[in-house]
Symmetry: C2
Subunit: 493 residues, 2 copies
């Protein structure tokens, strides 16, 4: 039984993935500084072992043989996904991967140093090497997968994403946003901002975060909340490791971070348990994952009904005097503040997509060869000026050097963020259509309807379908930017 062999292989991979996931979470939350070198060796060994185990040539035979076995419809979907993941993992020769890993690691290290020094000239040659290898990688992936080179890169993060489908959607969104950003800025101009007066004790913030997580459906028998320098959601579906980072002068950054990561965590905890060892049982990809975190953050937690319910909890945990006289609108005025800025990770939900569209446009040209690394600062500057009215030419550290993605060789990843935001809006619309009183539920802190819908249509579907197909099956329509545009108009228009 070849299918059974694939299941046994899946269990081995799951065990190694479990170890790597928990070791990585522990590294970020618990490990003393001197443990790093041996930890890196241990994780590298396990990752190598995983790659070796998963790319063994006999797996191709098992996949072929399994196709003629008597499989259920479910098993056929599982087999197809197994083959897709295997094909993606075996696109590149081992020698190439080794060279690329070395090059990308050196580039990322150099980037950490030179970004702090705003030294584009010093960094550009390293990025050129990374881009050259990424072009080779894209060509090899394209060849094996029968896709266009940039599509073959996106395929790693969101199976089924195609630039030809995404580009017109991003163009609509861009056209809308370039006009809408000034409008949103003007609309918020005379909103009064109540001061936030700390200090807010970390244990109070933590208790508040835990209470919010529990209310949203986080299962504390299968996960926990820790602290790390960069917030993340890691671990495994039966043991989700979520983190945040506290400051004592204000609490909204940490809390909004917790709400975002809770969205990721609910997805992982909501995956089908009995398929956890097979590729078909994993989360679908980056865009869908981001749609789940942004669903909680943008569709639930940046709304008036949510804060109607949440505000008393804030006051309960942070002390009755913490936010004197605050109403839901006062929280919203802070968490939904729009601002033109250089930095993607600091951007609000209105300007954020423009940061992404800029990168999507540029990285396609970097991969195709239409754009050289040497011309990157000028192109970046021109687009930033056109989209957000900001000049970056004298400040590459806050321009094309700001993200780790390209220095580390990750091309095709950026679109996922904004696709996720759009998908979250489209999912909200679908749920609200089925449950017209959804906002009343949220205002009572009742998240059963949103979670039941997402469990049925997203979480439990895991990786049965491609990213576009999953969204279409869930919401009844392909990705349509009008849902997200309507969402922004309603909130900021």
């Amino acid at each position: 039984m070849s299918y059974a062999q694939l299941e046994a292989l899946g269990r081995k991979l799951e065990a190694v993935d479990h170890a790597i996931a928990i070791l990585s979470a522990d590294e970020a939350t618990n490990m003393p500084v001197g443990g790093g070198e041996k930890r890196a060796e241990a994780v590298a060994h396990l990752a190598g072992l995983r790659h070796e185990t998963f790319t063994a040539p006999e797996i191709a035979d098992w996949l072929d043989a399994a196709k003629s076995e008597d499989l259920s419809a479910e098993q056929k979907l599982s087999l197809a996904e197994f083959e897709r993941v295997y094909t993606n993992a075996t696109c590149l020769p081992a020698d190439f991967v080794r060279e690329q890993t070395r090059t990308n690691m050196r580039s990322e290290q150099l980037w950490r140093d030179l970004r702090a020094k705003n030294d584009w000239a010093g960094f550009a040659p390293a990025l050129e090497s990374v881009v050259a290898l990424a072009r080779e990688e894209a060509a090899m992936r394209a060849d094996k997968l029968g896709l266009a080179p940039y599509d073959a890169m996106m395929e790693q993060y969101d199976p089924g994403n195609r630039a030809a489908e995404i580009a017109p959607i991003f163009d609509q969104l861009k056209t809308f946003l370039v006009d809408f950003v000034p409008e949103a800025l003007e609309n918020q101009a005379d909103l009064p901002l109540k001061p936030v007066t700390g200090p807010f004790a970390i244990e109070d913030q933590r208790a508040l975060g835990l209470a919010m997580m529990a209310a949203l459906g986080f299962d504390f028998t299968h996960g926990r909340l820790d602290v790390s320098h960069h917030p993340f959601c890691g671990g495994v579906p039966t043991d989700v490791r979520m983190t945040t980072r506290y400051r004592t002068d204000e609490f909204l950054t940490a809390l909004m971070g917790i709400l975002h990561e809770t969205g990721h965590a609910l997805y992982e905890q909501g995956l089908p348990r009995d398929l956890s060892h097979m590729p078909v049982g994993k989360a679908r990809g980056m865009a869908i994952h981001e749609s789940q975190s942004l669903f909680v953050e943008q569709q639930l937690a940046r709304t008036e009904p949510f804060w109607h319910w949440a505000l008393p909890h804030l006051q309960e945990h942070l002390g009755a005097d913490a936010l004197p006289g605050w109403m839901a609108q006062d929280v919203l005025a802070r968490v939904n503040m729009v601002e033109r800025g250089f930095i993607r990770v600091d951007a609000d939900e209105v300007t954020y997509p423009l940061h992404i569209i800029l990168r999507f446009e540029i990285e396609q040209d970097l991969i195709s060869g239409a754009l050289s690394v040497v011309d990157l600062p000028e192109v970046w500057d021109a687009k930033m000026e056109a989209y957000l009215g900001l000049k970056t030419i004298d400040n590459p550290a806050d321009g094309p050097m700001q993200d780790v993605h390209w220095p580390a060789g990750a091309f095709g990843y950026f679109p996922s963020y904004t696709l996720g935001a759009m998908m979250a809006a489209q999912q909200w619309a679908a749920i609200e259509k089925a449950h017209p009183s959804l906002n009343d539920d949220i205002a009572r802190g009742d998240f059963h309807a949103v979670n039941a819908w997402r469990s049925e249509h997203i979480w439990q579907q895991a990786s049965r379908y491609s990213t576009p197909e999953l969204l279409t099956r869930a919401t009844g329509a392909p990705l349509d930017p009008q849902f997200f545009i309507a969402h922004l108009k309603k909130r900021y228009g």
Copy 2:
């Protein structure tokens, strides 16, 4: 180069061991309850992988070939220890190990249930199966190692331990203790006990524990202190995971536990870093490990000079009013209280060895076949009465059912505890001979001399020598019970 192949293999094993150690520590300290099943699968897979990697037949060829390579004296010691560990790991056929693992796991599970019910009759058949397999195991190990069966079992925990050498030493100690216990009890009869009045806040106790650990030399860049149900010292030498367990009504149990585990931690942190991937670079064994924890606990922390230094720290961390009017003697009266009891793990340092000697005598007869499981309660009861004046015949839960070792199939482990206590006393005597003012150091909280000596003679020696040889090289003499006897006489006589 076969020796180089062994080094490469050592690095692989170290990586897998690292993963298992950290996953296990995380399981006890951080893992949410629902994560257990998948964690167990992951650790079992890694353990299986480790066994498979380490018992590959080609390793025997590498070991043989390496012997004719041009090796340094250091490398020859390393090769010998590699071969010793490999031989111990390949004594048993895989089928036997599988059957034994199943039998021992079932027995241990049954024991957890039936011990709580004090049901010896229900449990005895399971223990009989365990003992039958342990006899087979001992015979196979004996055959491969050229040792007597019980010695072959001890060899797993303390290389070089031989019953013929230990038995007369334990006999001397037993003869002394049977008379000495009543004397010690009488001596403490009119010691006044100051009351301990809590509550003691957990964060204060933790801060106190951390301060004591730091003073004793614990390196917080290579380790941390957490909380778990059963205190342990785990992790890896570059990332030692130590735990304790707090109660708020008193603080001495947690603190003494921290001091004990700190002894284990210092040993792990003090092992030679550049040999961490080779068997020769690991801690020597259970008896030496226990000698390091008991050195801190019994030789340092149960003494007047130690509390002369430590008492102000207690008052600083727990509050000035915590121990009103306490002197070092008042702490000692509590931590050094002698009591005849049924339970080994609750025993003080005077009565503890009698619990061990009883088990040592019984398990030799269980392995040889001279004693049947069915007769165990009577034998236990007779020895408990002879050694400690206590009857256990009606209470098997607190008699032969009290420990997990035999139900889990671990025979030959018990002697390590008391050997460790004796070795700690012998080490103290050796250090004091070289540094006559040692007690003045301790009274100032200066542990440099004890740590420097132990680093040079124990920690940095790692597994270069057998257990008896290591002690002899370190202290200048083979194990001699008179050091421990003198220690007890001085403290309790």
